[in-house]
Amino acid sequence: AESFPGVGRPATPAEVKAWDIDVGPDFAGLPKGSGSVDRGQTVWESKCESCHGTFAESNSVFTPLVGGTTAEDMKTGHTANLRRTDFPQRTTFMKVATVSTLYDYIRRAMPWNAPKTLSDDDVYAVLAYLLNLAEIVPSDFTLSDANIAEVQAMMPNRNGMTTAHALWPGPGFGTEANKPDTGNTPCMSNCKPKAEQVSILPDYAWNAHGNLAGQNRAVGPVRGMKTGPDEAEA
């Protein structure tokens, strides 16, 4: 490798510690500590519920965090509702396979308006509270670095992920497929008997995006259609 005299300097241990906050699925990077569901409820009520709702059920800023998982899912490691096409939404706990993800994310990014302000123990506590809301741990549970692997073994959708697809470049994952799963042929004429139209823009959606006339140039090959309300003048 080329050398670049004068460029960059070694990071100090304190610097690496300050920024290396990631926690992996194998719990590499997980800080020591613990927090109870009770303590988590206090954190939640003061710092989280305004956005996510008392029971993390709020739809107002984001899809609910909990709901849609069952005790059966905790056995199979598959959220059964994900197979249903009529299930109304996909909560965080329905999807997330790795509890490390939640620890890592809450520590780095929540509360949304004051990220990175929770202590490590508070992150344990509020995560314990969410796990309890999701009916994964009991209400007297205390989550810690020592028992988090046991929680992982109960995550409802822990077996719900696959890397068997061609959308990762190279052989990064052992189980993957490397051939695209879709595609087409470059047929040029009489490629099908007719063009089968299966969906059109619903009437209400025409006007839901404002006046399209004002979203297109007033000169050129085309004009925008006159639809919904004009944007407020700038």
Partner: protein, 410 residues
């Protein structure tokens, strides 16, 4: 929807026998003194261009700081996205970070992965040997609202999480080597942002080793815009936008994927069997006609140029075909040069509109031989609930009124 406007809307006032007043009468710009140079030390578009702006899709998200603004593809040309119109996707809002206070750190998941973890200032990064390359960036969720059915009226909302710039920066590989990273042991790297969300994504080591992944500071000749990660962002050519971590503060060399929130809860693709595909990254070959397109109307019969964009996360575009009958018959479009790897390619094709209904489609092919699928082909494998990576052929229906609407054809 609306009726077609009359001849007046043509911008061609029925000229008096004598001729057009725009020519016959003196115009102010021809008969007076204009504005001085540097009236705008940093210039802005014409006031007549305000219709072309970034916009949110109402109802898509509830909070505008964790949301998207879409680029107005319906009125854009060529392949370069002016940085003022680059689409936005933030998870915890955007910041105008003081570059003198920004730092970039390289460390190892385990000590043996990086001999000397290092800290770089902008002064440092900008001294290193740079590369400049043009690449598209597309959000993995682009066209995501349309997996199950038609949902939005225009190409701005259906495909506008797409932009293309000339990026300048330092290959991440150069920085990792400078720190003595063990590039044999490394299997993945983690990229982390300096924003509130401290956005983190697992990055394919293959693209790092190839030299393609860059720690970029330049975008279209100037520094990145604050909305796009000023002063540093990762550029991961061919890969969905969420991996192009903005306000980049750290890269960690590791041997396991990280399952961060945006690769374990979002940007995972739900298959019909209830499994999610995780670490879906590459943006497969895709194209869209941008003019004429949904929500526009043709004011006249006759000659039109049909123009659009094609791109592939796997390399260069090799061909684009266009259909006027919803995919029964196709003609080959002309590709504009340069045709670059993992970059937008502009295509054009002539069309004489006879005033009868038509359905316009484009179908791109890349250098690997992959051909963009139809909705039928895509759904047959992936169902309708994937959210991410919808690269189906887009259809625009031209009514006999000249009005154009978004439809889906199998």
């Amino acid at each position: 929807a609306a009726g077609v406007a009359g001849a007046a809307a043509l911008g061609r006032p029925a000229a008096a026998a004598e001729g057009d007043d725009a020519i016959l009468k003196p115009q102010p710009w021809a008969t007076s003194l204009g504005q001085p140079v540097a009236a705008n030390p940093y210039g802005v578009p014409s006031k007549y261009e305000r219709a072309l702006a970034r916009r949110q899709s109402p109802g898509l998200t509830q909070v505008a700081a964790a949301s998207v603004s879409f680029a107005p593809l319906q009125g854009m040309f060529g392949i370069i996205t002016p940085s003022g119109l680059h689409f936005e996707r933030h998870h915890q809002g955007w910041y105008d970070i003081d570059p003198a206070k920004h730092r970039f750190m390289v460390n190892g998941a385990r000590p043996e992965f990086v001999k000397t973890p290092k800290v770089y200032t902008l002064d440092d990064i900008m001294r290193l040997p740079p590369v400049s390359r043009m690449h598209f960036i597309e959000c993995g969720a682009n066209t995501g609202m349309e997996w199950g059915n038609v949902a939005v009226p225009t190409v701005q909302y259906s495909h506008g999480m797409l932009s293309c710039s000339e990026f300048t920066g330092v290959p991440l590989r150069t920085l990792l080597e400078d720190c003595g990273a063990d590039l044999k042991a490394a299997k993945y790297v983690l990229a982390e942002g300096g924003d509130g969300s401290a956005m983190t994504r697992t990055i394919p080591i293959e693209l790092v080793l190839s030299g393609e992944v860059m720690v970029a500071y330049g975008q279209n000749g100037e520094m990145l815009r604050p909305e796009n990660g000023y002063p540093l962002r990762l550029v991961v050519p061919g890969v969905q936008g969420v991996s192009w971590v903005k306000w980049l503060r750290r890269v960690e060399v590791g041997d396991k994927p990280y399952a961060t929130k945006d690769e374990a809860v979002h940007y995972i693709d739900l298959m019909p069997d209830g499994q999610h595909r995780q670490y879906t990254s590459i943006q497969e070959c895709k194209s869209v006609i941008t003019s004429p397109s949904g929500g526009q109307m043709l004011l006249d019969k006759g000659y039109f140029n049909v123009s659009g964009l094609a791109w592939s996360g796997r390399g260069k575009i090799s061909r684009v075909d266009v259909s006027f009958d919803g995919g029964v018959n196709w003609v080959e479009a002309t590709l504009q040069t340069p045709i670059l790897s993992k970059c937008l390619t502009r295509f054009n094709v002539p069309w004489n509109w006879d005033g009868r209904p038509a359905v316009l489609q484009s179908r791109a092919m890349d250098e690997t031989g992959f051909v963009q699928p139809s909705y039928g082909q895509l759904r047959a494998v992936r169902g309708t609930r994937s959210i991410y990576h919808n690269n189906a052929i887009q259809s625009w229906k031209v009514a006999d009124s000249g009005e154009i609407s978004n439809v889906q054809i199998l």
